[in-house]
Amino acid sequence: MISKIAVCLLMTASGLAGGITASNMLIKRERILAELMEGLRILKAEIYYTHDHLDLVAARVAEMAPKTAGLLFDNFQRILNHNDEADIKELWQESVMTTFPLHIPLKEKDCASLLSLGQKLGKTDVDGQCRFIDGVIVELSVRHDEACETVKNKAQLVKTLGVAAGTICAVLYI
């Protein structure tokens, strides 16, 4: 009997933990998208005001940008300095993949927007770079709005669903 109660409690707790994790993923995606937008705004300002080389600009963005965006640009700067013979598109792709392995917690389409930055990064004049970065920021902001909406509507729901699923499993087990 005691073991049955213990298993039931474990099932309910697992359901709760799963719900919280899924909910946190939604919140994390929203936060990361906001950080990435901030990082890109810093990138744009650095290119516009300093005209410095991409590796220097990336290093400064890495220092100034919020956590995840800083990590992304830090990876990019290191990969660029380590292998500057490769095409920027490939290097940027590698940086994105290193920072967000398996795209988690971002979605496929978030990563696609981010990866599109590599296509023209460094390849045009300053106005072209700014316009291009603005375009990526707009794309990410649409995704961010969508992520905010998802958090608002689903974060609590996912947690509740997790607890409910755990409880149902426990009841069925009994």
């Binding site: 290119i47 005209h51 410095d52 080389h53 991409l54 590796d55 600009v57 660029l80 500057d84 013979e85 095409d87 920027i88 990064l121 460094g122 390849k123 045009t124 004049d125 300053v126 072209g128 770079q129």
Partner: protein, 337 residues
């Protein structure tokens, strides 16, 4: 100068030149850089230009001779390779060089100039961009300490006043090299020199640090358009001399006028091959107005930097010996002996 001292100076110059060349080669794709590093020492030491053209072999010009570079596999350079070379030379950062690219060249750290050809995109007669780059010409920047020593007496008057001077020659005759050394000479002699280095060729500055020795009293305004930079220098740095490279436009002529009326001396270069070329150019009115008092013509024979003539504004040639070579040539001969 003693033979040992001349040899030492020459050795230092060769080492610095070699190091500067290796810096350029390090920026090229591995296989091309390796092929170029494999060239004989005498070719590398005298190297003046490296030329890449789409579907053509790599050609280098050294000490006046042309050499085709042997490569593994396809010896011709592909379009993709040209794009890659350019991207590497500009650190994947075209935007950093956007104004220069519109003028058909970029200047690398160390003052080396990279000329480009390709499809020009223009808007209302104004160049907006150069795309589909098909040719790249890397011109090695060089410094020859002492090259201007024999020029200085023509520039400095008896009262230690600096005469407004134009150094004139066709391309590849050493104008910028002579100007750079004259700046170093005058700066180290006690004059405050303000350099407006629009194309970063005079001082070869990278991240604000001059790559060439331009003297201890020289202030460099790097990458600034001449007509703006000259005014900035006059207002902010109180120079005794302002030095600029490649005058040629109406705006430049107006800037020269502003320098000379401000009581500051000017040393500048421009393209041309004779006194008449100068008079016909935009700078002609400055010469006629007496704002320029020395016109020094340089030639390429027997070596780049050879003084062909030194004219006053009234076209009086101050030297008769047209084969007068500059000091570095004689030092090299001395070392050869």
């Amino acid at each position: 100068m003693g033979k040992t001292e001349a040899m030492k100076k020459n050795d230092i110059r060769i080492i610095r030149k070699r190091r500067a060349l290796m810096d350029i080669l390090a920026r090229l794709p591995d296989d091309i850089g390796r092929s170029l590093r494999g060239l004989p020492d005498r070719v590398l030491d005298g190297l003046e230009e490296i030329r890449f053209r789409t579907d053509r072999p790599v050609i280098v010009y050294s000490s006046g001779s042309e050499y085709e570079v042997a490569r593994m596999g396809d010896r011709n350079v592909s379009q993709a390779e040209i794009e890659k070379i350019f991207s590497l030379l500009v650190h994947h950062s075209n935007y950093s060089y956007q104004e220069e690219i519109k003028s058909g060249y970029v200047t690398l750290e160390g003052g080396h100039r990279v000329g480009i050809c390709g499809k020009v995109v223009s808007d209302n007669g104004r160049v907006v961009a150069v795309k589909d780059i098909s040719s790249i010409n890397i011109r090695r920047g060089s410094e020859f300490p002492g090259i201007s020593d024999e020029l200085i007496p023509f520039i400095v008057s008896g009262k230690k006043q600096i005469r407004n001077t134009l150094i004139v020659s066709p391309p590849k005759c050493g104008k910028t090299t002579v100007l750079r050394d004259a700046i170093r000479n005058l700066s180290n002699s006690g004059y405050k020199v303000g350099v407006c280095d629009e194309r970063s060729e005079i001082a070869g500055a990278a991240q604000g640090i001059p790559g060439f020795d331009v003297g201890m009293r020289t202030d460099v305004l790097d990458g600034c358009p001449k007509n703006i930079g000259i005014d900035m220098l006059i207002r902010s740095m109180s120079p005794d001399i302002i030095a600029v490279d490649e005058l040629g436009t109406d705006a430049d002529a107006a800037a020269v006028e502003r320098v000379t009326v401000a009581g500051i001396s000017l040393i500048a270069t421009m393209h041309g091959d004779s006194y008449e070329d100068v008079i016909r150019s935009r700078m002609g009115k400055c010469v006629k107005a007496g704002l320029i008092s020395r016109i020094i013509l340089l030639g390429q024979e027997p070596v780049p930097g050879t003084i062909k003539a030194v004219y006053t504004a009234a076209k009086v040639n101050l030297i008769e010996d047209s084969s007068m070579n500059l000091k570095w040539t004689r030092e090299e001969k001395e070392v050869d002996k």
